[in-house]
């Protein structure tokens, strides 16, 4: 018989308010986290998939793929740098694509590549593409010919790849020549000469980034993680969502702290009696913490189930992505908040005088 658990079992109504509030807060945490993950993963998949030691931009591009231009001359210099073992061109063009049988355009990111990213096969034949499986939601099927951009450039879908989207648009992975053709046909304002790419994906040994920049004198090399964070809006999204998530955790802390403080205050007489008959402060405090943790676990389970249902019910264009990592983070954060929140009661429990049990008719 554990006093704290027995009370939870026999008097569940005393904990209902806290459980309901924490359930909604855990649901909110999961939805916020899911949206953050959905936005982040949907924006960065194409870059995270790159097996690159550095990604080389032209230095005037200020770390932007769309502004960057690497000429064949620059590429030759990069290939000659000590430690560089593999170099491949990479470029993206964001367009709408007509899908057979669908009235709405699909948002696609046509990605020209040479070195296969993780999970993406070697480049397909000219005019063909590996499509990110998120494009299924837009009605795309294998064998479809998508008409890309205002010029209706045809691209045939040969197969699916996963987690390769770019700025929330479905990745269409094509050869560099196909990509350049799409770009030049649909974005004449950003015409690309033969051999020009946006960035270089470079593999090698040692600290090759500074060596490349020193050799070319006109490039800026970033690691893959730096390149991910340099994508427009990614850092801002993360900091905004994280601020909301941590604020929500502060509310969880306050709710748990306030609730268990009031509960402890209400139990002052009972704790006095229990101390009088031999209960230690530690035992009583552990009981309070245990109750807070159990309430948090129940709230997480219900909140998690609701979030999972919401994920299934929401339209595909809502970038909600609930990952195992997000569930684990939210669970751990709730438990930590419950422990810290309930710890507010420690001072109150410690100060309860066992002598108060004597001479009190309360």
């Amino acid at each position: 018989m554990n006093l704290a658990l027995t009370e939870l079992r026999r008097r569940p109504s005393r904990f209902t308010v806290a459980t309901v509030v924490l359930t909604f807060l855990s649901l909110l945490l999961l939805l916020l986290g899911g949206l953050l993950d959905g936005l982040y993963l949907g924006s960065t998949g194409a870059i995270r998939a790159q097996e690159a030691d550095v990604i080389v931009y032209s230095d005037s591009a200020r770390d932007s793929f769309l502004r960057s231009r690497i000429t064949p001359d620059m590429r030759e210099v990069v290939e000659g740098v000590d430690g560089v073992t593999e170099v491949g061109g990479l470029g993206f063009t964001l367009l709408g694509a007509t899908v057979p049988g669908e009235s709405d355009l699909a948002d696609v990111a046509v990605a020209g590549y040479e070195l296969a990213p993780s999970g993406v096969p070697a480049p397909p034949p000219a005019g063909h593409a590996w499509a990110d499986d998120r494009l299924r939601d837009a009605g795309v099927a294998i064998g479809d010919t998508l008409l890309v951009g205002p010029a209706a450039t045809p691209i045939v879908v040969d197969g699916w790849v996963e987690d390769t989207n770019y700025l929330l648009q479905g990745g269409l992975w094509v050869t560099l020549d196909t990509w350049r053709a799409v770009q030049n046909a649909n974005r004449p304002d950003a015409f690309l000469a033969d051999g020009v790419v946006q960035v270089l994906v470079v593999r090698g040994e040692g600290d090759i980034g500074p060596a490349i920049d020193a050799a070319t004198g006109s490039t800026s090399s970033l690691t893959r993680d730096e390149a991910v964070n340099a994508l427009p809006g990614v850092k801002e999204q993360r900091s905004t969502f994280n601020a909301i998530i941590y604020s929500t955790l502060a509310v969880v802390l306050a709710v748990v702290g306030l609730f268990f403080s009031l509960l402890t205050l209400e139990r002052t007489g009972l704790y006095g009696v229990l101390k009088a008959i031999g209960a230690s402060t530690r035992r009583l405090f552990v009981g309070v913490v245990l109750q807070a943790v159990v309430v948090a676990v129940i709230a997480f389970v219900i909140g998690g189930a609701l979030a999972t249902l919401a994920d299934r019910a929401l339209p595909a264009d809502v970038p909600l992505q609930l990952t195992t990592g997000r569930y684990v983070f939210t669970f751990v954060a709730l438990i930590v908040a419950a422990v810290l929140g309930s710890a507010v009661s420690l001072r109150r429990v410690t100060r309860i005088d066992p002598a108060s049990a004597i001479g009190s008719a309360a």
Binding site: M1, T6, G278, S280, A357, I358, G359
Partner: protein, 257 residues
């Protein structure tokens, strides 16, 4: 009955003391609250010895210091001066942790307002004592057997599964007595055990206390302000303004101080 020294109530008198070894010895106890001009002497050099199996009524008006003295005897409050020995254990210099352990194992309490744990059944309220002692495995099984035995002796077997709210005032007090006796303590301290009960139930409870203490040879100190209850005790000790004096066995305290 009066003592030659009004502040020394050590000498057992009145009804026979059932065992020779003292269950409680208070020697020169002084308790002062505050300091300097604001100091209040709650108990003034009080000495009291309670023999094994003896039932002592501690009688006094409100604010007389009886609750303070009871708290000191039970290790709930530290005395400013003096020595407290319970069941042969000198607790005068005990740390708070040692006092917690002492209260858990050596002394039983029955409080004024019963104070059972409201969400535990009668049987579980007895088992709280072993739960606090961290009983596991065989010890827990033994505790369950002990709780059932105690409830049977107290005539509460049929109420074992009832919550305190489902028990009458007398039944709740009996459960509280069972909880106090659970660890077979050397001393049980009763704080106004009948104040929340009507006269008839109060007398029944006092009879039960007397019978249970006698049958176990357990010493007890019963704090009360109700002179009608003192005849259940072997001896009545009066306390006024923190000073102990003796009253007769029937609780007649007039002129003894």
């Amino acid at each position: 009955m009066s003592s030659s020294n009004p502040s020394d109530s050590s000498a057992p008198s009145g009804a026979a003391v059932l065992a020779t070894a003292p269950a409680l010895r208070l020697d020169g106890i002084r308790k002062v609250y505050g300091t300097g001009e604001n100091a209040i002497v709650a108990v003034d050099h009080a000495s009291l010895t309670v023999g094994g199996g003896e039932i002592v009524a501690l009688l006094g008006p409100s604010g007389s210091g009886k609750t303070t003295l009871l708290s000191i005897a039970g290790g709930l409050l530290a005395a400013t001066e003096g020595t407290v020995v319970v069941g042969g254990e000198d607790i005068s210099g005990h740390s708070p942790r040692e006092l917690t352990e002492f209260r858990r194992s050596k002394v039983g309490f029955v409080f004024q307002s019963v104070n059972l744990v409201p969400f535990l059944t009668a049987e579980e309220n007895l088992l709280v004592v072993s739960e606090l002692a961290g009983a596991r495995g065989a010890a827990r099984k033994q505790a369950r057997t002990r709780a059932k035995e105690l409830l049977a002796e107290l005539g509460l077997s049929h109420r074992a599964g009832n919550l305190p709210a489902q028990l009458s005032g007398g039944e709740r007090q009996r459960v509280a007595i069972g909880r106090a006796l659970f660890n077979s303590p050397a001393l049980v301290l009763f704080d106004e055990p009948t104040s929340a009960l009507d006269t008839k139930i109060g007398e029944q409870v006092m009879e039960l206390i007397q019978a249970e203490m006698r049958s176990r040879g357990t010493a007890s100190v019963i704090v009360t302000h109700d002179t009608r209850m003192t005849h259940y005790a072997d001896r009545t000790v009066r306390i006024v303004d923190g000073v102990l004096g003796l009253a007769d066995a029937a609780g007649d305290v007039s002129g003894d101080h």
